[in-house]
Amino acid sequence: MKKLFVLLSFISLISACGGGKAPESGANPYSTAEPAAATNYDPNRGIGKWTAESLNLSATLDAAMAANGAKIREVKCSSCHKLTDEKLVGPGWKGVTSRRKPEWIMNFITNPDPMIEKDPAVQAQLELCLVRMPNQNLNDTEAREVLEFLRQNDGLK
């Protein structure tokens, strides 16, 4: 597909592939919002509605929830994340519940774009993976079920 753009007296031929987009989703170049000062950012919690209190996790596994989480993973997550610690597109899931706080995981699943912008650990990960984690539009219950599955994957009974 070719489009012909005429700009003032300059004629430029631009070949566009399928209406290519400049920024990836979430990176709004026209945003007037200033990035939050680094001091305001809590790297243990991330950005989002979830806190340790609001999550109120039980020390034991809810197997039914974990089973639902496994089904959601099949549809929305398994393309990029292995259950081992091996990287596929994104990092493997093994050990994630010991590397990150549960509220951080919940916030990252439900609110990935602002955290990709600000979280130092995510930014370091992006340098390795080069693919932004997609917002897969999980609702609160679904995200919680995936978290339960992650806990099961890390050996919680």
């Binding site: 012909l4 987009k21 997609p134």
Partner: protein, 621 residues
């Protein structure tokens, strides 16, 4: 920095004719936001090429890949634009389409029987009860013998007006009835509103009933007609069982957002009311010089006729028309239809407005804006006193005009767009084929002011506009993968597979940033038909994936998040064929690729598919 959204207060939906697409622009920026394929194929989006979209372009003539879209009409409630749907007409193989403004996609197309050239369409009644379509070319009816001499026009050719009912909950269209009329050319139409709700007005030309050299032979009479149709009365006759069932053949194509597929059905019957048998259904109002535009003002009282060859604009009064009908102030009968006396229906004439009036739109302050093709200008005049208030030139030869809400009961005013037929020296030259031109005028003051020129793709024909706020809140951002009922969906990579059914190979493929699964396929043989059913697993806004395979003789696919779309591919030679994502999706978009191996017919290479499997490293490495 100014947020982009505030630059775009209005959305205009304009019809671009030569490309036969509907395009959405922002106002007042003139920025092109989206091009929507309707009746014509679009390889960029796979429209008409993917297996799912092919049924949408089915007709009684089979698959028709193009048409000549002219007009667009936004749905209304109580005569006000409501932002639910926009309709479009196919002028060649007569059809009407409904585009859903939640997705900006064509949701439904219905063909029109007994018709040829659907021009006076897709105008609607004030609650979108009906979309109408009047045939431009009169032709013998579908159930009559059409193998007749062309010069038997007066005897054998009929004009049919179609009334398509619209389901208010779903938007679903169904051809409710048709009115059979004398053979003339129906040109444009508009519904009555407010007090004239229940009536529809169609301009007619070639009332000479010529079948050749219409340029001369259809310009003989000093006056043709605007036909007033009492559609509420027609509805009563249909309810009372007065419609005649006649045999015909037309396609009705509906898109299903859950299966992400279109379905086409051929319908064999239509209900007809013959205008000759029901004399209180239709009336002819004489209108000077081959009337084209037929526009009803926001109050519903005034009907403006625009004779293409006239040097005045007649304005008819609905109140006077009703009195003339009650008092039988007739001036003869035209092929079974009573002709109202011109003076009995006339409110007045705008004297010396310009040359060649075509179309009129309205503002909320009692003013009308009429385009003049021959004298290349827009003229503003007052509906009550018929005095010309202002005139501005256009560059050049203007056709339709658009005022946001300008044919509704509640015009939003503020802007007027002129759609020009000739551009000439307005932009830098690009060879023999020049850019097409729309011009934006500010009409908020006493004087119209040209504030922007913006090029359009193809001949810009007609447009409608409304405040963006009527459309933007309900936008669909993704299709939920859980609700995807496509028969070949793969909900997750675990369901990705390749299945052989005889010589048909079905690839259940997933796409997510940035790989396909499977991306290595072997065991396809010459003589196979391969169906790539690609499911986009993304659930985030604005992350489509594309799909293409080398040698595909149809098109690429463009798959929205959560959607499944199918490309049929028939390999034409043995070898390795690459496939890849055609829509830039991530930093690793160029890595989003795979291979399919094609072996000779009868080969014993087993069907095999994988993603992420490499050959074992040779020993010693």
């Amino acid at each position: 920095m100014l947020p982009l959204a505030s630059m775009t207060n209005f959305t205009i939906l304009s019809v671009v004719v030569s490309a036969d697409k509907l395009s959405a622009y922002g106002l007042p920026s003139g920025r092109l936001l989206r091009v929507i394929p309707v009746f014509s194929v679009d390889p960029e989006k796979g429209w008409g090429y993917s297996e799912e979209t092919k049924p949408m372009l089915n007709t009684s003539h089979g698959f028709v890949p193009w048409d000549d879209l002219h007009h667009t009409e936004l749905s209304q409630t109580n005569g006000e634009v409501d932002g639910r749907w926009v309709f479009g007409n196919a002028n060649n193989t007569p059809r009407v389409a409904r585009i859903d403004l939640k997705t900006f996609r064509t949701a439904e197309i219905i063909e029109l029987p007994n018709s040829a050239g659907n021009h006076s369409s897709p105008f609607i009644t004030e609650n979108t009860e009906y979309v109408v379509a009047g045939t431009r070319f009169s032709v013998p009816a579908d159930n009559a013998n059409g193998d007749v001499a062309i010069n038997t026009y007066k005897e054998n050719f009929k004009g049919h007006l179609s009334f398509i009912a619209v389901d208010q909950a779903t938007g679903g269209m169904s051809l409710s009835f048709q009115i059979q009329c004398p053979g003339v050319n129906f040109d444009l139409s508009h519904a009555g509103k407010g007090p004239s709700h229940g009536w529809f007005f169609f301009s007619c030309y070639n009332t000479e009933q010529a079948n050749t050299l219409l340029e001369v032979n259809a310009s003989q009479k000093d006056k043709d007609f605007i036909m007033a149709v009492n559609w509420k009365k027609a509805e009563e006759y249909i309810k009372a069982g007065k419609g005649k069932k006649t045999t015909t053949n037309y396609a009705h194509n509906v898109w299903d957002e859950k299966t992400h597929s279109g379905k086409s059905e051929i319908i064999k019957e239509v209900l007809i009311l013959d205008s000759k048998e029901f004399p209180d259904l239709c009336y002819m109002i004489p209108c000077p010089k081959s009337p084209h535009g037929c526009d009803v003002d926001p109050t519903g009282e005034y009907i403006v006729g625009s004779g293409k060859l006239a040097a005045l604009i007649p304005v008819f009064s609905f109140t006077k028309l009703q009195a003339a009908i009650a008092n039988k102030e007739f001036d003869g009968v035209y092929d079974g239809i009573n002709v109202i006396k011109y003076e009995s229906a006339l409110y007045g004439e705008v004297a010396k407005p310009g040359l060649g009036p075509l179309h009129t739109e309205f503002d909320a302050n009692g003013n009308a804006y009429t385009s003049f093709f021959v004298s290349s200008e827009v003229v503003k005049w007052n509906i009550k006193d018929l005095k010309v208030l202002d005139r501005v030139p256009t560059y050049y030869s203007v056709g339709h005009l658009c005022v946001p809400g300008g044919d509704s009961r509640k015009p939003f005013g503020k802007y007027l767009i002129a759609y020009n037929k000739i551009t000439k020296d307005r932009y830098l030259p690009t060879g023999p084929e020049l850019s097409q031109s729309a011009q934006l005028y500010d009409i908020s003051g006493d004087k119209m002011q040209l504030i922007l020129d913006f090029p359009t793709i193809g001949e810009p024909h007609y447009a409608q506009a409304c405040p963006a706020g009527l459309v933007t809140p309900d936008q669909v951002k993704i299709f939920k993968i859980e609700e995807n009922n496509h028969p070949y969906v793969a909900k997750g990579e675990g369901e990705a597979k390749v299945v052989r059914e005889g010589n048909k190979v079905h690839v259940y493929m997933t796409a997510i940033r940035s790989h396909f699964a499977p991306d290595n396929i072997e065991g396809v043989k010459m003589g196979d038909e391969v169906y790539f059913h690609v499911t986009n697993l993304e659930q985030d806004w604005d992350v489509p994936h594309g799909f293409a395979v080398k040698g595909a003789s149809n098109a690429e696919l463009l798959i929205m998040p959560g959607e499944t779309t199918t490309l049929k591919w028939t390999p034409d030679k043995v070898g390795i064929f690459p496939m890849y994502c055609t829509d830039f999706c991530s930093a690793l978009h160029q890595e989003m690729q795979g291979y399919i191996r094609v072996s000779p017919a009868g080969s014993n290479i087993p069907l095999k598919f994988s993603v992420g499997e490499q050959a074992a490293a040779p020993a010693g490495n």
